[in-house]
Symmetry: C4
Subunit: 225 residues, 4 copies
Amino acid sequence: MSVDVSPQLLGDLRAELVERHQQLVRYGLVVWTAGNVSARVPGRELFLIKASGVEYERLEPASMVLCDLNGERAEQSGLKASSDTAAHAYVYRAMPEVGGVVHTHSNYACAFAAAGEPVPCVLTGIADEFGGEIPVGPFARVGNDDIGEGIVSTLAGHRSRAVLMQNHGVFTVGANAEAAVKTAVLCEDSAKSVHLARSLGEPLSIASADIDALHDRYRNVYGQQ
Amino acid sequence: MSVDVSPQLLGDLRAELVERHQQLVRYGLVVWTAGNVSARVPGRELFLIKASGVEYERLEPASMVLCDLNGERAEQSGLKASSDTAAHAYVYRAMPEVGGVVHTHSNYACAFAAAGEPVPCVLTGIADEFGGEIPVGPFARVGNDDIGEGIVSTLAGHRSRAVLMQNHGVFTVGANAEAAVKTAVLCEDSAKSVHLARSLGEPLSIASADIDALHDRYRNVYGQQ
Amino acid sequence: MSVDVSPQLLGDLRAELVERHQQLVRYGLVVWTAGNVSARVPGRELFLIKASGVEYERLEPASMVLCDLNGERAEQSGLKASSDTAAHAYVYRAMPEVGGVVHTHSNYACAFAAAGEPVPCVLTGIADEFGGEIPVGPFARVGNDDIGEGIVSTLAGHRSRAVLMQNHGVFTVGANAEAAVKTAVLCEDSAKSVHLARSLGEPLSIASADIDALHDRYRNVYGQQ
Amino acid sequence: MSVDVSPQLLGDLRAELVERHQQLVRYGLVVWTAGNVSARVPGRELFLIKASGVEYERLEPASMVLCDLNGERAEQSGLKASSDTAAHAYVYRAMPEVGGVVHTHSNYACAFAAAGEPVPCVLTGIADEFGGEIPVGPFARVGNDDIGEGIVSTLAGHRSRAVLMQNHGVFTVGANAEAAVKTAVLCEDSAKSVHLARSLGEPLSIASADIDALHDRYRNVYGQQ
């Protein structure tokens, strides 16, 4: 396969992905090697993803493996791509607007995933970021398209860009790797606050008109653009 | 609008606010960009507040936006002020004794906010700092004066300088930014201990005469002045 | 009052206490200024304790205040001693074998203190270090001898060198400051594990003969002496 | 006893063990001195283990004590080996495939150990790493072969290379120290997620055919070899 991409652009993206994995570590979303970030190569049918089983502290730009949208390695590197590569590839094929995907087993989100329960939208921060509940996707085995299909079909029915795959963990998507990491961070933070609220009793609900207004404002007014 | 303030004083206050935001990060009260600190410019109808949507690790003095007490930007900077600016401005207008305001979504406090329950005064440290329960304010949408009014009216009925806004998060006030940050730190720490106590059963209460005595002593004897 | 102590020894002890407070921070046992360590001056009716209301990151040797065993400042320093000084002084008067005292509001221990429940001895690590449950002492106001009396009378009935003062926090004692800090660290760690076990159901008990044997072995076989 | 081992190999192994203990600290699995790592000397009837009661921040290569498979010190060093040495030695005698052993009192695992409950296999990450539940071994006193026997007999009936010793803590084994540390990290992470899930209700189960398939794939497809 011929891979005709600017070496500068690829190098920058590899370096950014190393930093994005370090963010997952700093935010406590991953341990050992259990999570990964990928990024689409802008304008190409390619993406970069973490190599399988490499510890975060040893990651370097060369630890990011270039793959095509079937999840096949698109370079001569000796490293094997993440065992979650098929799921990432499926998302990039099915969702052209997605430029970054994150997978973690962060603890509070996994608690909801093991219980098979969505994270309900009972905090304004959840309305802002997720526009409603963080949904649960189906149980699916790793290694074929089942996980990818489960992610895409679940996201299709929700504003949330995070999905809790049942008995498994979290997948988040975004316009780029940074956006997907941000969503992963806020997913775990939201799951934690709601989990703690559940211990006190049933959390108070937020009216759906308020959820809509908060989400709309957050998307259109928040930030510097 | 003419802004005639000592550049040295403004610069010092901007630099202090960068450091105050780092304290929120170090104490684990905020993730990504979800929280902010502001400080009144002493003797002026102005305050400085974090720019909207800027990550904490990228904050620099120029990331603090000078606003008037209507929450309008009072300088030519290209940065937009925090989306919580209206709430901070309302507090500065209504409470002349307040020199610093902090807003966080810290997890244990948010759990009580989602449950709509105050943090009861069942530890002497809560009596010291808050002089009673940490109260819950009303649910209010972001963007107009509703949040500000809810903060001010709730604080008016309590010794606590922290308020849990229902389904939202924490606002704290103080004589300056340092005092408001301290209250935010102790609010989350108190909420955590009480949450953990609740899991064991109903916490023992403290007699209100003891609460009064503890709070009085803390305000008048503690510290170096 | 004449204070005739080797300046070298006092200086070393002040420097050690700065480091001991940093250990409390690193182990997550204290926030802001809410905890303190003291150390008896060997062979003298004096002890050093943290100044009141000074943040941990600003502590330096001069932040440690020399006091007599009535809790009165025994030097000309401008700093006021911790508001918990009376309790520390009482312990040094009543327990000549004690060379170090620690006070924290660590969260899991405070949860048991607010519930008025001891930490039961359901882990071998608790048997090792505490030789039985970590007991609860009475509720007592700060500022006179009530807290000190509560600590000493409660410790008199238990092997544990940590006591959970009801609705308040933890006091630990040891042959020196290091030993008292160690006990404070293990107290919080034990309270956390037991709290988590309680969420799963009633923890299994350990036979008292096993507790005795474990504690005896730990005191006589463990470590390098 | 004559100890005829390459000094280079022994020195490398000692240095690695210092780093492995630091990993336990960074992952929050140990406090003070309450946990240890050992490594078999390849091809020899010897292993290295942490000295008793030495704090992690003071560990250096010389803090690792060379022992024979009866747990007796096999060098002239002045340091006494860990009080858990007998248990490590028993494992090395009984399980020739084991090259590394880790012992911790990590909090969530201890919660299950105190409750006498295994960590159920309700997350795909647990199926991957443990191939089923993380089992509970018997209560056993320290100091003779009871703990070692309990570890070995419990592991014999499970794919899991981690065992929760009742009312005590965790032991993990692996082909080398790194593998045993990895298993200790994932044991605590798994126990935490399942503990949190339990608070929400009864976690959903994973079919045993799925557990088998996940574990098989993880052992044979994951990573770089």
